[in-house]
């Protein structure tokens, strides 16, 4: 090669290399965007899996790890799944199902020998979902799961509403190609409406049902032959009508739909009035006698009632629930409960036992290392014939119930917002028709206020191990208990 040619080639290298550097600087922001949320390629992997990420195949290794995790799940080896969930989410932070399934494992599948969930994992499950949502901010799936977990498992309806609202108003659904171009599925709106009902915000829930119905009507208009869209539209119409009926019957004038069904087949979706309009009138002296008995039973003065006059709403007069419970440790760590509750069969009482100083932890980052010294048990019992209760054996699961603390709270609760509609037909959505001489507690910080039943005992370790009985002297003020619990649990943003 001629020296001049060599010189020219060497000179040509300079601008070419500058172009390479400039291009790399332009590419870097794209790469950062593409790998947002990923950890280092090593991500705590064992040697058998480490070569893949080094060669740029993180997603493939993540996929293989997840296949392995699925095998562990079917073998019942849940403990082995957790580290794999962590690795997979580090390698591939856009795999939505891993976050959702991993959080479900944490919240639901770690149980004691009586199938009670180990609720100490719930903050970790929530944090994992929050991390996944932050890594996939345009997608509704993980936010929806946060809403569902708060509804179904945690019963924190305010937080559930918070997440469903984000899903419905700020997120997108995937089209056939998986790209985020479509509105979220209608079930997101349905859950938003349900969550508002659980908060006692009935009028807002009705508005969401109307909005969903209008959207579905438009979808059906565009594609009239699609059975599933028609089905969704019909269920929205049904739920809107049902909510209007319940609102009218519970708070305006009671309508006995089972008797009056023949006369009252529908309700005006705009006014919420039954059709025909006289469906809520007393039809006979027998109707009046039944209502009069309700007033007499709770010792309230009977208002003037006559055939043809409108019935008072279902939540009037208030129903005395006579809620109570007698807890006894019949063996070490074996709790026997005998409770009473003047309510229809099927209402469920929540039982919670935890260390006196335990508060729902606020994790700054996801970890599945839980504090094994904490004792936290939660269960629910159904009411049958006005009574409830059974034995809760915590002696077989020392890892979950170590009882290392000196003092514990033993809490019994009934929340009308979480109960079945047929119980709410008597009590109202927020317990407006419910009263109790001893254990009524009004959550006045909620809007609208919620009337719950709560009996709290503060007991000692000695009582858990039967060195002393539990007596009524151990009953702790419900309001003070609520104040202590709120200290570490800030509410979600108000909306």
């Amino acid at each position: 090669m001629h020296p001049a040619t060599r010189r020219k080639l060497l000179l040509a290298l300079v601008p070419l290399f500058v172009a390479v550097v400039l291009l790399q600087a332009r590419i870097d922001p794209f790469v950062a965007e593409l790998h947002k949320g990923s950890r280092t390629p090593f991500a705590g992997l064992t040697t058998e899996f480490i070569l893949g990420p080094l060669l740029g195949m993180q997603q493939a290794v993540a996929g293989l790890l997840w296949v392995r995790a699925d095998e562990f799940f079917h073998e019942g080896d849940y403990d082995a799944i957790l580290p794999m969930v962590r690795m997979v989410t580090w390698l591939d932070p856009h795999n939505l199902d891993v976050y959702i399934t991993g959080a479900w494992h944490l919240a639901y599948n770690f149980t004691d020998s009586s199938e009670r969930s180990d609720r100490r994992y719930i903050p970790a499950a929530q944090k994992l979902l929050e991390e996944g949502d932050a890594n996939n901010p345009g997608v509704y799936d993980i936010a929806f799961e946060l809403g569902w977990e708060n509804t179904d498992k945690i019963k924190d309806y305010q937080r559930a509403y918070h997440w469903y609202r984000i899903c419905a108003y700020e997120r997108k659904g995937a089209d056939e190609r998986g790209e985020l171009t479509k509105p979220v599925p209608m079930f997101v709106w349905h859950q938003l409406a349900h969550s508002l009902v659980r908060l006692g915000r009935i009028d807002e829930s009705i508005e969401v049902w109307r909005k969903a119905l209008a959207m579905s009507n438009e979808l059906v208009r565009q594609d009239p032959k699609d059975f599933s869209k028609r089905n969704v539209r019909d269920s929205e119409r049904h739920n809107l009508e049902l909510t209007l009926k319940r609102k009218f019957s519970r708070y305006t004038h009671e309508v006995d739909w089972s008797i009056d069904g023949k006369r009252t087949k529908s309700i005006d979706p705009y006014t919420g009035q039954p059709t025909p309009a006289d469906a809520y009138l007393f039809l006979s002296e027998d109707d009046i006698r039944q209502k009069r008995e309700q007033f007499t039973n709770v010792g309230e003065p009977v208002p003037p009632m006559s055939v043809g006059s409108p019935r008072p709403p279902a939540v009037v007069p208030k129903w005395e629930t006579a809620f109570d419970v007698r807890p006894t440790f019949v063996e070490d760590k074996v709790l026997d409960l005998k409770g009473q509750f003047n309510v229809g069969d099927g209402a469920r009482v929540t039982i919670r036992l935890h260390d006196e100083n335990w508060r729902p932890p606020q994790l700054k980052a996801f970890t599945f290392d839980i504090d094994q010294s904490v004792t936290l048990m939660q269960d629910q019992h159904s009411v049958r014939q006005g009574t409830w209760g059974r034995k809760i054996d915590m002696s077989k699961d020392p890892k979950m119930y170590s009882f290392k603390s000196e003092r514990y709270f033993l809490v019994f609760e009934f929340d009308p917002r979480g109960t079945s509609p047929f119980i709410q037909d008597r009590f109202g959505w927020s317990g407006e028709g419910m009263t109790d001489r001893k254990y009524l507690y009004v959550e006045s910080d909620k809007n609208p206020p919620n009337r719950i039943l709560r009996k709290v005992y503060r007991i000692t370790r000695a009582q858990v191990f039967r060195r002393a009985p539990i007596t009524e002297a151990d009953v702790f003020p419900a309001a003070e208990y609520a104040r202590l619990q709120k200290q570490a649990s800030p509410p979600p943003p108000a909306q």
Binding site: V20, Q24, D28, F30, A60, G63, D92, L96
Partner: protein, 255 residues
């Protein structure tokens, strides 16, 4: 024309090599077996199938490129056939470029074959054609273009064994571009300097890993086409740099 003639001869020679054909057959078989992981949920199955398919193409492409790149020039020297070639009116730069293009055509044939099978499997499994996955195959090809140029450059002065480890090692380091990029913000000056040198001087093979976007379409990249075009330009320009260096080194080498 001379360059293309050498390239054609190299392609024919490479396609006769059993090792490359075996690699291709194994890779195609692995891609075809992808749907066997379909016991997961539909979304997970799709993600696993796509990620595994792209990974197999990448891995097979990597081996094919390195095995081709490290052999094309040293084999000619070992067999002494290079004397016959260079005694003809063939410039050394034409020889280097012809060998590079021949290797590149080989990689193209192999990667394209795997890509077609992969798209076919996806079509069968998901019930629709997934043209976006062709982007992933294309990016793998350009990644291999850069790697091939690197291997050709090393082959002008290193033995095939040394070349194998050099190319493979730099491919791994170049795949850590997201790590080196994050180290550019490090507070330690020495770390920052080393990271800058590594990040800008070593070919960034990690740039071409767009699987995140292809496997999870919900991952939003503001301007994907610009990103892809920049990467293609990066591969071509960097390959040109390496080929110029290869030509300069090979020109001075005694064969």
């Amino acid at each position: 024309m001379v360059t293309l003639a050498i390239a054609k001869q190299t392609l024919e020679d490479m396609l006769r090599r059993k090792i490359l054909l075996i690699l291709l057959i194994v890779a195609v078989a692995m891609i075809a077996l992808g749907p066997s992981v379909g016991f997961l949920s539909p979304r997970e199955s799709s993600a696993v199938l796509r990620s595994l398919g792209l990974a197999v193409i990448l891995l097979a492409g990597l081996l094919i490129t390195v095995l081709t790149g490290i052999q094309v020039i040293p084999t000619e020297i070992e067999r002494r056939t290079i004397y016959t070639v260079l005694s003809k009116p063939v410039q050394r730069y034409e020889f280097v470029l012809g060998k590079f293009l021949g290797g590149l055509f080989t990689v193209f044939v192999m990667v394209a074959s795997m890509g077609i099978v992969f798209l076919g499997v996806l079509r069968y499994q998901e019930g629709r054609f997934a043209p976006e996955m062709a982007q992933g195959v294309m990016m793998t090809f350009f990644q291999m273009t850069l790697l091939g140029a690197l291997a050709i450059f090393f082959s002008t002065f290193a033995t095939p064994v040394v070349n194998f480890f050099l190319s493979f090692g730099l491919f791994i380091v170049g795949n850590l571009s997201s790590v080196t990029e994050s180290l550019l913000q490090n507070k330690n000056v020495a770390t920052r300097l080393v990271a800058t040198l590594v990040h800008y001087a070593i070919p960034n093979f990690g740039n071409f890993n767009i699987q995140n976007k292809l496997i999870h379409p919900q991952v939003v990249i503001k301007n994907m086409n610009v990103f892809i075009m920049q990467n293609i330009a990066y591969a071509i320009i960097y390959a040109a740099v390496l080929l110029i260096l290869a030509i300069i080194v090979f020109d001075r080498r005694e064969v």
